[in-house]
Structure formats: C-alpha cells, structure tokens
Symmetry: C2
Subunit: 78 residues, 2 copies
C-alpha cells in the first residue's frame, strides 16, 4: 500500500520560497506566471493495510508531517 | 491555468530526510511504514495558456526547479 501526502502553506500564510521561485521564473522569461506556492510531497510505502491505518496516518500528518497552524495537508491512499 | 510539479529524489539517491521521517513514524507507533521519500510540490498559477507554455515549463523544471542529476520531476497541467 502507498500513501501520498501533500503539505502546503495555508492560503493566508506568506510563502517566501514560492515568491522567490515566481520571481526567478519571470526573470527567466516565463511572464505568464502569476503565483507559485511550494510545499512538501511525501510518498509513504506501507507494509499492509491495517484496520485503522488511515486514521493513524491522519494523526501523524497533523502531529509530525505538517504544522496545522500554517500548513494544510492532503492524504491520498493508493 | 494551473500547473503542478512534483520533484522527487531519484530512486538510486539516498533520501536522509525521508529516512528520518520513516524512523519518526515508526517510533510514533506506525510500524507498517517501510519507506518514505520526500520531495517538493509546486503549484504554479499561469495567466493564460500560450502556445509553447508547456515546453517552456519543462525547460524551467529542468533548469530551475529540479536538479536533474539527483532529482526527477513530474509536470501536470490542469
């Protein structure tokens, strides 16, 4: 089983890394770029699909993988 | 138009950040975790869909957003 987690800064939170990349892309000729936001992408391989794996994954997403004050996460199981 | 880019370390490249997260997840009771790999996730807002936007995005993915020696990228347009 695989799980994929995307952790992104909340919409209301400044993303200086994204702003720097936007500037760099525009500077390199990509004038169409309006906005860039940068987050983390995690691919998690799991041994088996236990009963409460998804609930425990959500807990770890909140407690370990993201900072709920400034970040949102999305968990997709495959 | 939106483009999403996932940049991941190549399979043959060590991912110490992923290994640290795997250890932490196991330590926090998630014994099912076999492997974790961590990459970057970029959401790019584009003003319009120009003729060669996709080709130029691919070039920027290679030149600016990833290091092709140790990373692979995936570009998805929406």
């Amino acid at each position: 089983m695989k799980a994929k987690v995307v952790v992104m800064p909340k919409a209301a939170v400044l993303d200086p890394q994204g702003a720097a990349v936007r500037e760099a892309m525009q500077h390199l000729g990509m004038r169409e770029v309006k906005n860039v936001r940068i987050g983390k992408y995690l691919e998690i391989d799991l041994e088996r699909d236990g009963a409460d794996v998804e609930a425990r994954l959500h807990k770890l997403c909140r407690d370990l993988l993201s900072n709920p004050v400034i970040e949102d996460y999305q968990l997709v199981k495959e």
